[in-house]
Symmetry: C2
Subunit: 234 residues, 2 copies
Amino acid sequence: MSEKFDPKALWSLSYGLYIVSSMFEGKTNGQIVNAVIQVTAEPPQIAVSLNKETLTHLLVEKSGLLSVSILDQNTPMTMIGLFGFRTGREVDKMSRCGHKLGIDGCPVVIDHTVATIEGKVVKSIDVGTHTIFIAEVVSGELLTDETPMTYQYYHTVLKGKASDKAPTFRGGQPKKKREEKAMKFVCDICGWVYDPEAGDPDNGVEPGTAFEDIPDNWTCPVCGVGKDEFSPEE
Amino acid sequence: MSEKFDPKALWSLSYGLYIVSSMFEGKTNGQIVNAVIQVTAEPPQIAVSLNKETLTHLLVEKSGLLSVSILDQNTPMTMIGLFGFRTGREVDKMSRCGHKLGIDGCPVVIDHTVATIEGKVVKSIDVGTHTIFIAEVVSGELLTDETPMTYQYYHTVLKGKASDKAPTFRGGQPKKKREEKAMKFVCDICGWVYDPEAGDPDNGVEPGTAFEDIPDNWTCPVCGVGKDEFSPEE
């Protein structure tokens, strides 16, 4: 690596936000992906970069099938958290989300989805931590005329973060200790913010509860990690 | 291809707008590309899909070097036309555009550029009409804090079109015959619009000149094609 490398240069590349899903021997899963591009027009083929450690990678590798759901701008953080920060080895994601079966039996998420693309893998390229799957498009449907979510919108408006398995992972932030009372706390994993004024009433935490007073078994409502993964907001 | 294929599904994928440049044995060139993604974080690698017929493809293939210039939202259509719709076999693009030499001697466009990325090709994947080049990033610089141009902005605000060599080419439009006098005419190649009220004074066409009265040797100020490539605006 050259001395002239500023990682922010890569952060200016533009992406959307997608759920890539697959299925093998009855096991289904899906995950948030930003690295999806169309690579040829005739025939239409797409490329998808997936981290080798994910369950979705395993299912795509085994079945040769994948679907892409292009998320709309109103996709809630809880849905992004479920697909982006939880593993399908611990939670059945499809059971918590509207989906259909694609023409090859592959699940296709349709909640908050602008358009769906189904593909059959024709090539797999090992690029180290990730595999790039090249898939020929076998089906494509436009579901709504909503605005697609962009990665830029996710980062700047929703204050979302990249998973440590994303090809665009930007590294962790150093933790800081501050006066905790009545302060907002940020999930280090998914970026969700706990506001003491609002509490988390859906999960039994009343408005007005300081972060330190939340029960220790409480978990992030978006990505499910424990209190020790939260840091005081800057 | 399935009957359930609506090409508009693919149009909802999000991209930026970039110039990919290269050099081999003293010959330089660059072209507009939308299909650029980061595919791994450690080490940082990017993937770029290039049409095999382009000069830039040939130069990248021969040299194993490429640079990516991330264009800003104010990039003029004339610059996009030069790099997106002209071939480097006929015009020396770099001589018409601000650029620097990268650390490996590869040209890097810096006009209207938010950030630059330089890479060395580590893999080339044949995907039919295009090759996907995987490049390890050897340099990256943030040049400005301007807003990056998105493909969405290019299509909807600037009314730009995709080149027939783009992986996202959407096909040609059928020509229609209409009353031509005082009508606006659209370039079928690049999407630039001739407005008779404005004329094209930079190229000797006075405001108020009907399209039919423009001299036959006049060419599109953006992409350089002749009058016969224009159609009446819908």
